[in-house]
């Protein structure tokens, strides 16, 4: 469902935050922190990065002052909503020995109710991808499910795109069409500053009713549409997805894997910032007495040696095999596994790779050299690196 669009004036936006808080939500959204726009608690609209923007490139992120007082005048940063839905570290259970017996106590399912304020279209698609992994699967992650079901999603449509953005290529943006409770578009021009608001669910509509609004005119809606169109035209990257599933599966020995491995630090940053990467490990510990034990779930990455450790050693010992695994899973075998690509085109892995490895560039190179079936010879003759 989508409701008739309403207009929330800038000065009334705090009413929306208050309404969410009143409903028992813990509002989290973009804030300034550590030289970047990161997700954290938001109490009032002034907590958003007012008047800030970001500039991004492969391996580079910089905050810049804007000339206006926009609240959402930037793209995605190093954090993603998965830190709330699929926390980086979570205790699964504790075990206590007593005499010859022991007792296991599962960690209670998290019941925090988050309102995610400022979700971008690519991020909403990423959440939906993780839903398929954690909820719509044979093995349901009850903790994720509870967090997800409790969450209220406020989309903010993108009015600009960054240099590492490519949601248009992945068909995941820039406009969120569904799956949200509320969708806002920020309009700022000629002294006017307001939000075009559309409810996408009954609970979104109910919240919107608690806020001072007026109905949107057709020109307001046209302006909102125009803002998103502007973002559409600003994509800094493109990725040709045509046949990419087959392309990667047919090219496990492509020379490009060797050259990317020379640069890849196997540091795991790309997977940690990726909003769809879902892998975790479990760590079991005992204390000194040996009577108390805990199992923790922690974010893991296919770039570590332990990730593919089987009896006798790691299956993917080389960085080449690990990068290939990641990219091929993300863009190709993910489709076999979950019926969609694992990439939403947010560009985080490009920006937050310290050495700026760019998956769109890797795919382009593999595609361009795809006719070559004797990679080592070709690599030697043209020095492709």
């Amino acid at each position: 469902m989508t409701s008739e669009p309403r207009i929330i004036e800038r000065k009334a936006l705090d009413q929306l935050l208050e309404a969410l808080t009143q409903e028992g939500y813990q509002v989290v959204g973009p804030t300034l922190g550590d030289g970047a726009i990161v997700y954290g608690p938001v109490q009032a609209s002034e907590d958003f990065p007012v008047g800030w923007t970001d500039e991004q490139e492969g391996g580079v992120y910089r905050l810049k002052k804007r000339e206006d007082k926009a609240l959402f005048g930037y793209v995605v940063g190093p954090h993603s909503w998965k830190k709330y839905l699929h926390p980086p570290e979570r205790r699964l259970w504790t075990g206590q020995a007593s005499g010859t017996d022991f007792e296991l106590t599962p960690e209670p399912v998290e019941t925090a109710r988050f309102a995610f304020f400022g979700v971008r279209s690519c991020e909403l698609h990423a959440i939906e991808i993780q839903d398929r992994v954690f909820i719509h699967n044979d093995h349901v992650d009850e903790d994720y499910k509870a967090r997800r079901e409790n969450a209220f999603v406020v989309v903010v449509q993108c009015g600009q795109a960054g240099k590492t953005c490519f949601c248009v290529s992945m068909n995941t943006g820039p406009k969120a069409e569904s799956g949200y409770d509320l969708a806002l578009t920020e309009i700022l021009d000629e002294g006017r500053h307001f939000f075009h608001a559309v409810a996408g669910s009954p609970k979104g509509a109910a919240i919107l009713q608690q806020v001072e609004t007026r109905s949107a005119t057709s020109s307001d809606s046209a302006e909102a549409e125009e803002a998103v169109q502007k973002a559409r035209g600003q994509m800094g990257r493109t990725l040709n997805t045509k046949g990419v599933k087959e392309l990667l599966q047919e090219n496990p020995e492509h020379p490009r894997w060797d050259s990317v491995a020379e640069r890849c630090l196997s540091c795991a940053n790309c997977t940690m910032v990726c909003p769809t990467c879902f892998c975790s490990t479990v760590e079991d510990t005992t204390d000194l007495t040996g009577d108390h034990t805990e199992r923790w779930q922690k974010w893991d990455s296919c770039f570590t040696m332990d990730f593919s450790y089987l009896h006798g050693g790691s299956v993917r010992a080389s960085t080449k095999s690990r990068y290939r695994q990641w990219l091929t899973h993300k863009l190709s075998s993910w489709i076999d596994q979950f019926d969609s690509s694992g990439c939403v085109g947010c560009g985080r892995c490009v920006t937050w790779c310290p050495v700026g490895i760019d998956l769109t560039e890797e795919v382009r190179s593999i595609r361009e050299e795809n006719t070559v079936r004797l990679p080592s010879k070709r690599e030697a003759s043209n020095g492709n690196a």
Partner: protein, 258 residues
């Protein structure tokens, strides 16, 4: 271990600053539990009392720098069932391995009034260069929680959880923004072994590499980044030559730029 005798644990010091063995005393909250679980048989920083060997678990701090220590480490090995090195000195030769890149006799003649009294080896070396080591715990100094983890794991005969992946993983799990990407700050994190909890980047500093090289460190690629960000050869050499200067990947990388 109910009903069994408490394992005898000895702490041994070689060339080092004592910081790592002090981590054991620094355990504070866990200290009573440690004392409950093990018998401290030899621990110079805590007590002069020495219980005779053999020892079930030996924690070895420091590097081998003298002919005498070269002998002594073999005695320690012979009297220990399980030998764990603690810290960068014992594991990689420590900061004192900086001398390995120079002629130590030159230093001796400059520093000491009577160089004849000094009997030292040409190189500061890791314990594993001399005897078999059962487990190496990284860090300068070690992380006390990891030390408790290693002792707890030993007591339960399981593998300690001390992942060898990058510091980056720890930064990301705690939500720290990458200082390389957001500020262009030089950081060793992508090639450094986790374990400290990514302290420095959380305080806006690059990682100094206290825990030494991680598994599969791509130092060449990181050096390219350093050079692109204005670092000259001299600074590059210094970046790799600190507490873990003689750990093979760091030694080789520094030598490439020396």
């Amino acid at each position: 271990m109910a009903g069994k005798k408490k394992p005898k644990v000895a702490v041994w010091k070689f060339a080092s600053c004592d910081g790592c063995q002090l981590s054991l005393l620094d355990c504070e909250d866990e200290l009573l539990a440690v004392a409950e679980a093990i018998e401290i048989a030899n621990f110079p920083e805590a007590s002069r009392a020495v219980v005779k060997g053999p020892y079930d678990l030996s924690l070895v701090e420091g590097s081998i720098t003298t002919p005498h220590d070269e002998e002594r480490i073999h005695q320690v090995r012979r009297s220990s069932k399980f030998l764990v090195t603690i810290g960068a000195c014992a594991t990689a030769g420590g900061i004192q391995a900086l001398r390995n890149f120079k002629d130590v006799q030159d230093f001796v003649s400059i520093v000491y009034a009577t160089p004849d009294y000094i009997d030292t080896l040409a190189k500061s070396s890791a314990i594993s260069d001399h005897v078999r080591v059962d487990f190496e715990l990284r860090g300068c100094p070690i992380n006390k929680y990891q030390l408790v983890e290693v002792v707890s794991a030993y007591l339960k005969d399981r593998k300690p959880v001390t992942p060898a992946h990058s510091v980056c993983v720890e930064c990301k799990r705690r939500g720290t923004v990458c200082v390389m990407v957001s500020q262009g700050t030089l950081c060793m994190g992508p090639v450094v072994h986790a374990g400290c909890g990514a302290i420095c980047p959380a305080y806006d500093r690059g990682c100094y590499g206290c825990f030494g090289p991680k598994e599969t460190p791509n130092t060449e690629s990181l050096s390219e980044w350093f050079k692109d960000h204005g670092m000259g050869n001299e600074e590059l050499v210094r970046a790799y030559r600190s507490f873990n200067a003689y750990a093979t990947p760091f030694r080789k990388e520094s030598e490439r730029h020396d």
